[in-house]
């Protein structure tokens, strides 16, 4: 599969989960494993551009697909993605554990709906739990990213 634009090829066990592939085979540890039960969303990555919970996808199911993790968002010069920038500016994180998943869920939302209402943002993040309960600024960050994305002519 391609992970963040780089081909990652490996022989893996049939039962290996995508979350473990990303962390242990590709060596990308932004993707956190939280609940391991498809509930918390900390392990959210993009699979062919759409958000999925990587603890509930087999690595084999992603064979040949395009996987994007939080590490893959920034520009080649290290410039943060508008969603990352907005989480930074709006202080959309406290302990940070849910943040990579929140950011990926937000990127997926804005790809489908570049100008969501606050209610739509809250609904779109229903699959991502923040154990610090810091939802207020997370929602503000996603709305700010949407505004920034519109200004720049769409999210990268």
């Amino acid at each position: 599969m391609r992970v963040n634009g780089t081909e990652v090829a490996a022989e893996v066990e049939d039962r290996l989960l995508l979350a473990h592939f990303v962390r242990e085979v590709a060596g990308l540890t932004a993707t956190n494993i939280g609940c391991d039960t498809t509930s918390c969303g900390a392990c959210t990555v993009l699979l062919d551009g759409e958000s999925v919970k990587s603890c509930t996808v087999l690595a084999a199911q992603a064979d040949g697909c395009e996987v994007t993790t939080c590490e893959g968002l920034a520009g080649p010069d290290g410039q943060m993605h508008p969603v990352q920038q907005a989480f930074h500016t709006e202080h959309g994180l406290q302990c940070g554990f849910c943040t990579p998943g929140m950011v990926m869920a937000a990127v997926s939302l804005l790809a489908e709906n570049p100008d969501p209402s606050e209610q739509e943002v809250r609904a779109a993040l229903e699959g991502n739990l923040c154990r610090c309960t810091g939802y207020h600024n997370i929602v503000r960050a996603v709305l700010a990213a949407a505004r920034a994305g519109v200004r720049e002519g769409g999210a990268r």
Binding site: R15, H20, T56, V57, Q61, G127
Partner: protein, 272 residues
């Protein structure tokens, strides 16, 4: 949590899926989106020896207007049902209910056929299939057969599908009368329904009120006899057999069924 070891196989066509299943025998399971099966496997409640991945069979992902009915391919994802203009127009109950399954990530993976074939009484779409009087099309080694939704759900995680049989299509008649409603009561947004209700016209189906999804026959009888929403909903718990679990006791589920059926019938009536 990691599933017990199994052999992963990927089918390139429905025909190949059937022959792989025939070769693997009774310990094989089809893997569609995996969002019901993989969590069970991680908990080791399900321990199949062979997983046959049918997730890439695009031939089974479609929503078609067939005149008197809508044909939905079994591998159509919840996300696609939710955003289908055709369904929003013709079968808004299905479009709305699909958009209430899990969360966006789950809806990007989970499929209507996977949800129905899994046979979980707490899932939303089985009750929706009952309310819509759907017909399920299954393919096996000896050909295709049609199974009415009312004869498909046999019990907890038990359906009329034979081992090696693959659910391929869901056929849903266009509703003759317009009223519909979907009600789902959960603690958190992403949870399974503690109780849910799907209404299409005079048909009323219940989520999580027995070991299989079921029609609320006593409510339907009352409606047919001219009862209004409140009066008919008083019968919602008749014939049910809800579990008591960490989320709710049986008596509370019976209460919820009456309340939610009343809301559903009222909303449905307002849409006619």
């Amino acid at each position: 949590m990691i599933p017990a070891p199994f052999t992963y196989q990927r089918a390139g066509s429905a025909d190949e899926a059937l022959s792989l299943a025939a070769a693997a025998g009774e310990d094989a399971k089809f893997l569609a989106g995996g969002h019901s099966l993989l969590p069970l496997m991680k908990l080791r409640f399900a321990v199949p020896e062979v997983l046959i991945d049918i997730g890439r069979l695009r031939e089974l992902s479609y929503i078609r207007d067939e005149g008197d009915h809508i044909a939905v391919g079994a591998l159509t994802r919840h996300h696609d049902l939710e955003h289908s203009g055709l369904l929003t127009r013709e079968l808004p109950l299905l479009a709305l209910a699909a958009g209430r399954v899990g969360d966006p990530q789950v809806r990007h993976r989970g499929t209507i056929g996977g949800s129905l074939a899994h046979g979980d009484p707490a899932s939303d779409l089985p009750a929706v299939a009952l309310a819509l009087d759907a017909t399920l099309v299954a393919r096996g080694p000896s050909g295709s057969r049609q199974i009415p939704a009312g004869e498909f759900f046999l019990g907890l995680f038990e359906t009329a599908l034979e081992p090696g049989e693959l659910l391929t299509e869901i056929r849903i008649p266009k509703p003759p009368v317009p009223g519909w409603s979907f009600q789902k009561f959960t603690k958190r947004a992403i949870d399974w329904a503690i109780v849910g209700v799907a209404v299409q016209g005079q048909r009323v189906a219940l989520v999580n009120m027995a070991s299989a999804p079921m029609r609320a026959a006593a409510v339907e009888e009352a409606l047919a006899g001219g009862a209004g929403p409140e009066e008919a909903a008083a019968h919602a718990a008749e014939g049910t057999n809800p579990v008591s679990d960490i989320n709710a006791g049986a008596a509370y589920r019976e209460h919820l069924a009456r309340v939610l059926v009343a809301r559903a019938l009222t909303e449905s009536a307002a849409r006619t």
